[in-house]
């Protein structure tokens, strides 16, 4: 049963986890054969911005060598066949240009969210 995951939560514990754990779990489920689609909304649309760079953090003599690479992770998810959409107005309201986003993702108008939800038998909101 194809599941639409709506991802809203953003930058919640991404440094500690070195991932966004919701994006991550979708990669893991896809690897296990899940049928998934993702809609990014709210602040999570910022995950599509290619220029994100969380590298270089140190805590004393501990250095983070694997910072989260959220845009790459979403690109990898798309490459695995997960349809990735984002709410167009949420991008625009945050002053993000479409040219800043990774390739292969589709805008969805806010007014079309219900129709997108209607096309999926199962909907999860994260």
């Amino acid at each position: 049963m194809k599941t639409l995951s709506i991802i809203e939560s953003a930058y919640r514990a991404t440094i500690e986890e070195q991932d966004d754990t919701i994006v991550w779990i979708h990669g893991a489920m896809k690897g296990a054969g899940a049928e998934l689609a993702v809609l990014l909304r709210g602040n999570a649309v910022n995950y599509l911005v290619e220029a994100q760079n969380a590298g270089g953090l140190t805590f004393g003599d501990w250095e983070q060598t694997q910072p989260p690479r959220l845009a790459s992770d979403l690109a990898a998810l798309a490459a695995k066949g997960v349809e990735i959409c984002y709410v167009a107005e949420d991008v625009a309201e945050r002053g993000i240009e479409r040219s800043e986003l990774i390739a292969g993702v589709q805008p969805v108008a806010r007014e079309a969210i219900a129709e997108l939800i209607g096309r999926h038998e199962r909907v999860w909101h994260w």
């Binding site: 809203e8 969210i113 209607g118």
Partner: protein, 108 residues
């Protein structure tokens, strides 16, 4: 026609994103679906008559069944007899009923 239960746990005093559930409920009911908005936790705060409850009343007028978790209401001292127009108190069983009946249930 599909049944939807949207669970709103957030409140407009703390989160502007309550718009998401309101707008979604409006879109879904306009598309002739059966829609329930179930308020839980602080999500019941706007259910108090006189609170920021216009959106809830408007949704009820549009055909959305707007319910507020009885326990959450009692926990916050909100009198079930003094809820905003269009809002009714209901037990959490409504959520389990919807899950059991195969409705699309979305937690916000």
């Amino acid at each position: 026609m599909t049944r939807y239960l949207l669970i709103e746990s957030r409140d407009p005093f703390d989160s502007s994103d309550v718009r998401f559930c309101c707008d979604l409920a409006q879109q879904l009911v306009a598309a002739k679906n059966e829609v329930t908005l179930f308020l839980v936790q602080n999500g019941v705060l706007p259910a108090r008559a006189g609170a920021r409850s216009d959106d809830l009343t408007r949704l009820a007028g549009a055909g959305v069944r707007v319910l507020a978790d009885s326990f959450s209401l009692r926990e916050r001292g909100i009198d079930e007899r003094r809820l905003a127009t269009g809002v009714a108190a209901a037990p959490l069983d409504v959520v389990m009923d919807a899950l059991a009946d195969g409705a699309k249930v979305i937690w916000h």
